[in-house]
C-alpha cells in the first residue's frame, strides 16, 4: 500500500503540473489571440480534466494512508509514529492529521476536493474558472512537491525490506489528540485554511484577465462564506478542545498556533464586509484584492507556524525543516500578487466616492481598519520573540498580558462597530435618523452598566480597581446596546410586514428574513458574536480552588460544595485511568456527581487529564483531577467556577445558523412591483439600488 500511495502522489504531482502548464499556455494563447495548431479552448479543457484526475490520484494517496493505519502497517514510518493497534477507530482517522506528513496530505486532498468541485462547475464562467483552476493547480503543485520530496508520508522504516520484520506495535497517537473533538477540529480548520485558496484563485484570476464587473465576487461569495464558516467552527472547536483537555480552566491562551488560525479569520471577516462596498458601490477594489491575497498568505503562514517550528508552541504537534519550502512559496505567491497588481491596477479604479463620514460605507472602512489592526497586533505579538532574539540575542515572551492590553480594546471597538454599522444607511444619514436609531441602544447600554454595578459585576474587587472586570463591564454594556440595535432592526422590518400582511410577529420576522437572507442572516451572525463576547467577558469573574481531598472531605466554590466520596480505576487496551468521585451539593442538596479522570496511555506512558464539566447557562463547574499526592496517596482536586462559558458555544451555534441563513437565496420580494423598472431611468432609482 505504501508503494501505491507514493505512486498516487507522483501521478497527482504530474497531473497538477500539467494542469498548471497547459492551463497557463492556453490562457496566454486566449489572451493574445495568436493562431495556433492546437485550440486553446481544448488545451484549457485538457488542463481542467487533468485537475479532476489529480483529485482522484490524491484521494488514492489519502485512502492508502488511512488503509495503512487501519491495517497497522508499521513498516511505514508515519504509521509507526502516529498509531498503534489499540487506538480506537475514530482516532485511526485522526492519525491522518496528527503528524506533519499526514496533515500536508490532508491539505493536498482538501485542495484537490475544492478544485474538483470548482472544475465541475466551470460552465458558470468558463474563462474565469479556467484561470482559477490553473492558479489552484499551482498551489497544488507546491503541496504535492513538499509531499513527494520533503515530507513523504509513505516512507518506509530505515533498512526495511519487503517481507522483513516490522515492529509489533506503533508509538500511538499523542494523548492530547485522543479526544472526540480532535476528530473534527483539524479537518474543520483545514477546510477553512484550504478553502481560502478558492477566493484567492478567483481574485488573482479575475485581476489577471481584467474580469469585467463584480461578478467574480458574486461567484466567490458562497465559497468565501462557507470557508469562513469552516474556519470559525474550527477555531471554536479548538477552543473547546483546549478547555476540555488541557485542564487549565481556560479556552484561549494566545498561543502562536491559536493566533495563526485567528489571523486569516480576521482578514477573511474584513473581506466579507468590505466586499459589499465593491458589490454595491464599486469601491475598495484594490483593498479587497489585497485582503484576499493576505488571507491566503496568512493561511500559509499558519501552516508554517504549526508545522515548521518557527515559534515554539504547545500546539505544534509536528516540527521539521519544511519551513524553507513554505517561505520560498510564500515569496513566490507574494511576488506573483504584486506583479499582477502593478500590471493590472488600472482595472481596480474606484467607481464611486464616499458621500458622508457617517454612513454604512465609512463604518465598513473603520470595521476593516480595526480588523486589520487586530490582525497586525496578533502577527506582531506572535513574531516578536523571533525578532527580539534576532536583534537582542535573547528571546522574550509575548503572552496573555500583552494581548489583553492591546487586543481587548480593539475587540471592544469592533463590537461597537458591529452594532453601529447596521444602523447607518448607505451613502449618508441625518441627525434625526441617528437619534432615532441610537436612543434604545444607548438606554440599553446605561441600564446594563447600572445593573452591573447593582449586581456586583463592577470593576472594583475588594476595594481595588480590576482592569479585567472593567473590560467585562464595558463588554456587557456594549453587548446589550448592540443586541438592542439589531433586534430593533428586526422589529422595525417586521412591523412593516405585519401592517401590510396582517401576519403575527413571528411569521413577519420569518418572512422578513426570507426576503433578505443575506442581510438578516448577517444580523444573526452579529447577534452570535455578541453572545460570544458576553461569554468571553465572563472570564473576568472566574474563581478556582485547589485542595488535596481525603475521603468525605469537602471544598466549596460559589454555590457548590464538592465532597470526595471515593476513587475508582479503569483500564483498557489503550490507557489506565484513575477517577475521583465527587458528589456535588447545592443549597445542602446533592444535585449531581462528577468524575474527573486522569489517564496514563500505555504505549507512550504519557498522562492526560479528562476534565469533568457541569455546564449551566450561568456558569461551568469545571473539575480537574490533578493526580494523587505521592506522599499521602490522596487525590488533588482543582475546581473552577467559570461564569458564562456556555454562552461561547451557544454563540457559535447562532453564528452557524446565521451563516446558513445568509447562504440561502432570498425570496422574491412581495413588493417587487413597487420597484421602478430597470430600463426606466428615474431620479429615485439610485435610492432603490442603494437601499437596505
Amino acid at each position: 500500500m505504501a508503494a501505491f500511495g507514493s505512486f498516487c502522489l507522483l501521478i497527482a504531482l504530474a497531473l497538477a503540473a500539467y494542469n498548471l502548464l497547459a492551463g497557463a499556455i492556453a490562457l496566454r494563447l486566449l489572451a493574445t489571440g495568436q493562431p495556433t495548431r492546437i485550440s486553446p479552448e481544448r488545451l484549457a479543457d485538457t488542463a481542467r480534466r487533468a485537475g479532476i484526475a489529480g483529485f482522484i490520484a490524491v484521494t488514492g494517496a489519502a485512502f492508502a494512508l488511512i488503509w495503512s493505519v487501519f491495517t497497522n502497517d508499521f513498516s511505514i514510518t508515519y504509521i509507526l509514529e502516529h498509531s498503534n493497534r489499540a487506538l480506537p477507530i475514530p482516532y485511526k482517522f485522526a492519525a491522518l492529521w496528527s503528524g506533519q506528513e499526514g496533515s500536508l496530505l490532508l491539505w493536498a486532498w482538501l485542495l484537490g476536493t475544492y478544485g474538483f468541485v470548482l472544475r465541475l462547475r466551470h460552465k458558470t464562467d468558463v474563462k474565469l474558472y479556467a484561470y482559477a483552476g490553473t492558479i489552484l493547480s499551482g498551489v497544488q503543485v507546491f503541496f504535492l512537491s513538499v509531499l513527494v520530496f520533503a515530507a513523504p508520508p509513505f516512507s518506509l522504516l530505515p533498512g526495511y525490506v519487503a517481507g522483513g520484520p516490522v515492529p509489533a506495535d506503533g508509538n500511538g497517537l499523542n494523548p492530547l489528540l485522543q479526544y472526540p473533538e480532535m476528530v473534527i477540529h483539524p479537518p474543520m480548520l483545514y477546510l477553512g485554511y484550504v478553502g481560502f485558496s478558492v477566493p484567492f484563485a478567483f481574485a488573482l484570476g479575475a485581476l489577471m484577465m481584467r474580469y469585467p464587473g463584480e461578478k467574480w465576487i458574486k461567484i466567490t461569495r458562497t465559497w468565501t462564506m462557507v470557508t469562513w464558516l469552516f474556519l470559525t467552527c474550527g477555531i471554536f472547536l479548538g477552543m473547546h478542545w483546549a478547555y476540555a483537555v488541557l485542564g487549565w480552566g481556560g479556552y484561549w491562551g494566545w498561543d502562536p498556533v491559536e493566533n495563526a488560525s485567528f489571523m486569516p479569520w480576521l482578514t477573511g471577516t474584513a473581506f466579507l464586509h468590505s466586499v459589499m462596498m465593491q458589490e454595491r458601490k464599486g469601491m475598495m477594489k484594490s483593498w479587497n484584492v489585497w485582503l484576499i491575497f493576505s488571507t491566503f498568505l496568512l493561511t500559509l503562514l499558519g501552516t508554517l507556524l504549526t508545522r515548521a517550528g518557527l515559534v515554539s508552541s504547545v500546539h505544534a504537534f509536528a516540527q521539521s525543516s519544511i519551513g524553507t519550502w513554505f517561505v520560498v512559496f510564500m515569496c513566490i505567491v507574494l511576488a506573483v500578487c504584486i506583479f499582477t497588481y502593478v500590471l493590472q491596477r488600472s482595472h481596480l479604479k474606484t467607481e464611486h466616492q464616499l458621500e458622508s463620514l457617517v454612513s454604512r460605507e465609512s463604518s465598513f472602512l473603520f470595521n476593516n481598519l480595526m480588523l486589520l489592526t487586530a490582525c497586525f497586533v496578533i502577527l506582531w505579538g506572535t513574531l516578536f520573540p523571533v525578532l527580539s532574539e534576532y536583534v537582542e540575542g535573547s528571546k522574550v515572551t509575548v503572552g496573555a498580558p500583552f494581548y489583553n492590553a492591546v487586543a481587548v480594546p480593539i475587540g471592544l471597538f469592533l463590537l461597537f462597530l458591529t452594532g453601529v454599522g447596521p444602523l447607518l444607511p448607505w451613502r449618508s444619514t441625518s441627525m434625526k435618523a441617528i437619534k432615532r436609531n441610537f436612543v434604545m441602544p444607548s438606554i440599553a447600554l446605561w441600564v446594563t452598566v447600572i445593573v452591573c454595578f447593582v449586581a456586583g459585576a463592577n470593576p472594583w474587587k475588594g476595594g481595588t480597581f480590576d482592569q479585567g472586570r472593567f473590560y467585562a463591564m464595558v463588554a456587557f454594556a456594549m453587548s446589550a446596546a448592540v443586541f438592542t440595535a439589531i433586534v430593533a432592526e428586526f422589529l422595525r422590518g417586521a412591523a412593516v410586514i405585519m401592517r401590510q400582511t396582517g401576519r403575527n410577529l413571528f411569521a413577519a420576522l420569518w418572512l422578513l428574513t426570507r426576503r433578505n437572507t443575506r442581510r438578516y442572516g448577517g444580523y444573526l451572525v452579529h447577534i452570535g458574536v455578541v453572545i460570544v463576547v458576553v461569554g468571553l467577558a465572563g472570564a473576568a469573574f472566574n474563581k478556582n480552588i485547589e485542595s488535596e481531598m481525603g475521603l468525605h472531605s469537602k471544598i466549596s466554590i460559589g454555590p457548590y460544595t464538592l465532597e470526595q466520596v471515593g476513587a475508582s480505576q479503569d483500564s483498557n487496551l489503550n490507557y489506565d485511568s484513575d477517577y475521583a468521585l465527587l458528589d456535588v451539593y447545592k443549597g445542602g442538596k446533592k444535585v449531581f456527581q462528577l468524575a474527573p479522570e486522569k489517564r496514563i496511555y500505555l504505549v507512550s506512558g504519557q498522562p492526560q487529564t479528562m476534565v469533568a464539566i457541569h455546564s449551566t447557562p450561568e456558569w461551568d463547574l469545571y473539575v480537574v483531577y490533578e493526580g494523587a499526592n505521592p506522599d499521602t496517596g490522596q487525590p488533588i482536586i482543582k475546581a473552577f467556577l467559570n461564569p458564562l462559558v456556555g454562552w461561547i458555544w451557544f454563540g457559535l451555534a447562532v453564528i452557524v445558523a446565521g451563516t446558513f441563513i445568509a447562504l440561502v437565496p432570498s425570496l422574491t420580494p412581495a413588493t417587487a412591483a413597487l420597484r421602478i423598472p430597470a430600463t426606466q431611468s428615474t431620479p429615485i432609482e439610485p435610492a432603490l439600488k442603494g437601499g437596505a
Binding site: 487549565w248 480552566g249 481556560g250 491562551g253 459589499m276 458589490e279 515554539s312 504547545v314 474606484t350 466616492q353 458621500e355 458622508s356 472602512l365 473603520f366 481598519l369 486589520l372 489592526t373 506582531w380 505579538g381 516578536f384 527580539s388 536583534v391 537582542e392 528571546k395 522574550v396 515572551t397 503572552g399 496573555a400 498580558p401 500583552f402 492590553a405 492591546v406 454599522g421 447596521p422 449618508s428 470593576p459 475588594g462 481595588t464 480590576d466 422595525r492 422590518g493 412593516v496 410586514i497 433578505n516 443575506r518 442581510r519 448577517g522 480537574v624 490533578e626 488533588i636 420580494p669 412581495a670 413588493t671 417587487a672 413597487l674 420597484r675 439610485p686 432603490l688 437601499g691 437596505a692
Partner: protein
C-alpha cells in the same frame, strides 16, 4: 445652546470621562492576595508548559511550586511589583515575564501596534477625504444621482428599501 457652547460642553464631558477612567486605572491592586494574583498572571511558569505561573496546573511541576513561594516571599518582603518582576527576570531570564518589558528594544513591541493603528487611522481619514467624505456633501441634484425627497416619500422609500433590498446588509 449655540454651536461653540455645545462644543465646549462635549469637550468638558470627554475630559471628565478620560479623567475618571484614568483615576480608575491608576488605583491598581494593593492588597497582598490581589498582588499575588496579578503578578502570578504577569509571570510564566518556567517548566516549559507555556502557561502563566498563576495558571500552571501540572501535578509535580518542578518549577511552579517554588516560583510561587518566591513570589509570596517577595510580596511579603515589601518589594514593589517592578522590583519583583526585575528580580524574577534576573534569576530566570527575560522569558519568565509574560509580556515584553517596556524598555530597550522590547519597548517596540508595545509601541508598534499603536503606531500602526495611528497610521492606519490617518490613512483611512485621508482616504475618506480623497473620496470626498469630509469635504461636505454636494447637493443631491448637482450630483445627478438623487432628487430631494420629502419626508413622506423618504419614509416610503425606506420601507421599500427594507422589503426589497437584495444582498448585503
Amino acid at each position: 445652546m449655540g454651536a461653540p457652547a455645545r462644543f465646549a460642553f462635549w469637550m468638558r464631558a470627554v475630559e471628565a470621562s478620560v479623567l475618571a477612567v484614568a483615576i480608575c486605572f491608576s488605583l491598581g491592586a494593593t492588597d497582598a492576595s490581589a498582588r499575588f494574583n496579578n503578578l502570578g498572571h504577569r509571570l510564566m511558569c518556567t517548566c516549559g508548559c507555556a502557561q502563566l505561573l498563576g495558571e500552571c496546573n501540572h501535578v509535580g511541576c518542578p518549577e511552579s511550586g517554588h516560583e510561587l513561594k518566591e513570589l509570596t516571599a517577595a510580596i511579603a518582603s515589601g518589594l514593589s511589583d517592578q522590583q519583583i518582576l526585575d528580580g524574577f527576570a534576573a534569576k530566570y531570564g527575560a522569558t519568565v515575564l509574560a509580556a515584553p518589558p517596556t524598555k530597550g528594544f522590547d519597548l517596540v513591541a508595545w509601541i508598534a501596534p499603536f503606531a500602526v493603528f495611528a497610521a492606519a487611522l490617518m490613512g483611512t481619514i485621508l482616504l475618506i477625504r480623497r473620496w470626498g467624505g469630509l469635504r461636505g456633501k454636494k447637493p443631491a441634484v448637482e450630483t445627478g444621482e438623487l432628487v430631494a425627497l420629502d419626508t413622506a416619500e423618504q419614509e416610503r422609500m425606506e420601507r421599500i428599501r427594507r422589503e426589497t433590498g437584495e444582498g448585503g446588509f
